[in-house]
Structure formats: C-alpha cells, structure tokens
Symmetry: C2
Subunit: 315 residues, 2 copies
C-alpha cells in the first residue's frame, strides 16, 4: 500500500488519479483526517499500516500566491520545513521509503555555457541574458541536483516560501530512503486557479520571464516512475525538458485558445514588484538529465504545452 | 548519565558547572564533537548510551545581538526550531525525558490587573503603562505558561529570533516527556559579552524598558530542579520572580560599581529603532508561579541583582 499525504491538494489529487490509473493500492490522507504533522501519530500509523512507500504531496503554497506566505510565516514553515523533517524522521525509524514534492523555486536564473565555461546568471531581466535566451537558447543550461540553491535563506534575497522549501530539503537530507522531486510551475489542460496557463490568462498584466515548467500529470508520472524503476534515492528535478518564456506561452495560447482579452505586459521588473508582487519571485531553468538518465520518460516542454492548450478544458 | 547538548555555550557552560557541583555524571557534547542536529546520529547515540535525561542548551542567539538572526535565517531556524523538533522526535522514539532551553522573548509587554480584570499590554513605552510600572507595580502581572505567545510568527511583528523560538516550542509540544524552560535575559556576576549587566555597561546608550530577567546560575539550578523534583513535564517560566526597569538596573549598578562613564538613554523608541536596532525587541514580564508551585526555589530579582553587582568580577 502507498500512503499519500496531502491527497486533496492540487498535486496530491494528480498523484491520486495516477495511482488509480496504475491500479496501485493507496491510502489518500488529508490533514483533516489525521494530523500527520504530528510525529507520534504519523510514526504509529506507519508502524501499524506498514505502507510500502509514502508520497508527501502536502505543503504550504500561499493563496492566491507566494506573497501570502510572507504573512503566514508559521504556517509556511510548518508545511514546508517542519513537515518534511517530521516525515523523514518517522520514515527513517519505520524503515519506509518515501518521496517529497519539493520545488525548483529554490533557484533563480540559469547557467550559461559560453567559451567552454559555465557561469550562473541569476536575473533574466538582464538584457544580455535575455538576448541569449532568444537568439542562442542552446547555451542556456538548467540547474542540476548538485547545484546549491541560490534563492534560499542561505542566498538572499528570496521569498519566504522558497526559503522554507530549500530548508525543507536540507531537513530531510541524508536520512533514510527518500526522493526529493522538484516541481516547477505546474500546468495542464484543466482550467484551475493553480494552473499556470489559467493564471497567465487571469493576470491583469503578464510578467515576462524564463522558466522550466512541469505538466502536472507528467510530473506525478515521472515521480512515481523513479520509485517503480528503483532509481537511486536522492534529489530529482522533474520538469518537462527545456524552458519557455512567458511571452512564448502567451503567444501560443493566443494562437490556440483565441482569447478575447488582449495580453499586456509589465513594462519592467520595477513596475511588477511595485504594483503586483511583494516578495521576490523565482524564475529559473532546471536541468533534468538526472531524471532522464534514470530511465524516466517525460515529454519536452513544447509538446506538453501544445497538448494542454489543444485539449483545454475551461472551468 | 545526563547528556548535555550545547555544553560550550553561555547557558550550556552554566549547566555543566552546576551538574559538576551536584556530582552528577554527565556528558557534555558540542556540535563539533557530534552533529546532534542529525536525527540518525542523535537517535543512535541515545539508543547506545541510554542517558537518563537530556539537556538541550544549544540554540542560535545571533551575535552580537538578535539583529544578526535576521541575516542568518537558515541558521536561526536550524538552531531554534528544527533542532528542538529533532531532539523531541529522537527522545520520543528512545523513551528518554529531556529539557529544552527556550526563551521568554516570545512575549511582549505584561498583563495588568485592574478593577477585577486582567488585560494584556504589549508596549511598555505607553506612558500610562509606564506610570503603573513606577507607581503601582503590584498590578503588573507576568505572562503564564497557558498564555499564547504574542511576539511570534503567529502574532507579528516579532524578531526572526523570537519567531523561531516560539515555533521551536510548538515543534516539540505534546511529544514524549519534555520540559520547556523559558530563560529571559541572562545575567550574573561574571563580566561577559552575553551578560545583561555587561551589555548595559557597554551600550552607547541604554534602552529603558521593563523585563523579567534570569540569573544564570539560578536559572540552571531551577531547570535541573524541575527534573530532580519530578515536576510534571511541560512549560516553565524560569526567571527570578519580579521584574526590573533598565533604569533601576543602571541606578543600582552606578551605586555599587561606580563606573566612570555616565549612562545615557535613548530619547525614544523611535530613536532606538532608527539608530541602534533593526528588528523589534521583546520586553516582557513573566509569571513564575508554576515553577514555584512545583517546589522549585529561586531568589527574587532584586536579591539576585544586588548579589551579582556586589560580587562583580570584571573580565
């Protein structure tokens, strides 16, 4: 039996759907049913029910966006840092392998490979970097699992959300048998306030940036595959290979969905942070070579984007 | 055997001294000797060495003061929130009782008992409250162990330090057998940069406020007494009964130590926070009835203050 924590969340429900499709016996658990943030309750549950694997899809994302995490620091820490530590401890004691939904948002920017050297660039609003993204995308490389997070409490500025996610990874590191599955901006064909493609359509103005993104069903399939393939435990970036600019997403969306409303963009980072956002946002490119090398199959980002828009289901 | 974590810190060394005086067998452990923030190492240690009790005197206080915690959020969280959770989990699994050095700084202000009613006041700079402190101190009551912290991530503004200490108490609550011993502004007769009486003498200007404070040796004795008396597990405020104003401390110090330098005060809260401090400071009065009711003896604050100054040992 697979224990699924946070089964009613946006990512948790995708895990539930995929586990059903795979005809896996699983137990979805919401915090209302059992407060699995309590170590004693969780450990007792693990010892009694002996799940073969635990999926932690619970976390605190902030509603409607990460700015809310700045106001609820306790909730954000409990959900994103203390909870993974608690699960790591309980699973280590009970000898049960598990996987954790983490986030790529603990990075900012990308790596650039030029003249035989790789350097890190943190800010896509830099015109030279943006020119490379547009004209020479092959030199843009993603962060790998061996890179140290550069958008965290240890490398500020960061959002409080990102800080707690990075510290959550630290809190579970080196303990027992665990996967860290890094998600990045989930999207798919189902209109939903958590769906990136829905958000883009509802923003008063669009913030043009560069990101790796994760198709929700592709993500959960890839996560479960790491376990089914018995990939080595550890961290895995789980995004659709490649990256997109927000402008490209909007243009593709305009072509396919033909929305009535005309998209506008924030004129600058300054305007965006002055008017629309309180805390710094992570925008980053992730490298998924490790995931692919482990034998996990996942569509490229353009295919996943086109497929979602071509099969768009309005809410 | 008693395991002492954080044995080389300001409070840890006082525990070590007192345990020696009591001729208790104990094992002082610094993080350099064993990284007890790692759950697996700590649990293995507890299972192998089977200490009768664990004292956690480790924590992250920020040097030279709590403003430093704003800059090292990860270190502050690891030391003050994740560590107590880790110890709580390991001690619960190993069935070992333990005590944690927490802090009264998760409160701000005091309770005021007037006209048969008790109200909470958060700010001693309020002139009416200050008048009560000077003219009618009997109505000033401290926060008890059943009061909810009002200077924490759940009740902002707070300092990052205070937020992590309050969340540390939450992270260990309800698990196994544990004491939470709340310290508040340690002082004693030994000149030291962590000693409140030394700090007051070294500040360019003094911030006049109202606080319960803890004589360091009195504090560790009282903490160990809760365990030796087998007081019920739970939270205990451990300060010298009563409270002091900074002005009173300075005047007493001037009379006894006759320092050459003349003390100056910040003219206002605004000036203090503009010039000397970055993050809000906790100033608060604690109630120690629960500690005293458990049979623990501890001197009143005035006696402890006079004793420290009369036996002052310059560094």
């Amino acid at each position: 039996m697979i224990l699924l924590l946070g089964a009613t969340g946006y990512i948790g429900e995708a895990f539930a759907k995929e586990l059903q499709q795979r005809q896996k016996e699983f137990l979805p658990l919401s915090r209302a049913q059992m407060d699995y943030t309590r170590f004693d309750l969780l450990l007792e549950f693990l010892r009694t029910k002996k799940p073969a694997f635990v999926v932690n899809a619970a976390g605190y994302t902030g509603k409607p966006n990460v700015d809310a995490c700045e106001l609820d620091k306790a909730g954000t820490l409990v959900g994103n840092t203390l909870l993974p530590q608690t699960i790591a401890h309980a699973c280590a004691v009970a000898g049960i392998p598990w996987g954790h939904v983490s986030s790529g948002c603990i990075f900012s920017g990308a790596k650039v490979f030029e003249n035989g050297k790789t350097r890190t660039e943190k800010d896509f609003t830099k015109p030279e970097l943006r020119a490379l993204v547009e004209n020479n995308p092959a030199v843009i490389r993603g962060f790998t699992e061996t890179d140290t997070p550069n958008f965290s409490f240890r490398d500020q500025p960061c959002s409080f959300y990102s800080g707690t996610k990075a510290l959550g990874e630290e809190a579970m590191a080196g303990l027992g048998q665990s996967y860290v599955w890094r998600l990045r901006i989930p999207f798919d064909e189902f209109d939903n306030k958590r769906n990136y493609l829905s958000k883009v359509q509802r923003y008063p103005k669009v913030y043009d940036n560069v990101n790796s993104i994760s198709h929700r069903a592709d993500y959960v399939k890839a996560c479960l595959d790491t376990w089914e393939l018995r990939a080595p435990f550890g961290i895995y970036n789980v995004t659709n290979p490649g990256f997109v600019t927000t402008r490209h997403v909007v243009e593709t969306l305009e072509k396919i969905l033909k929305p009535k409303h005309k998209f506008e963009y924030w004129s600058s980072d300054e305007e965006f942070y002055k008017v629309a956002a309180k805390t710094p946002r992570s925008n980053c490119v992730m490298d998924v070579s490790k995931l692919l090398a482990a034998g996990v199959k996942i569509r490229g980002v353009e295919e996943a984007l086109l497929d979602s828009l071509n099969n768009w289901k309005a809410e």
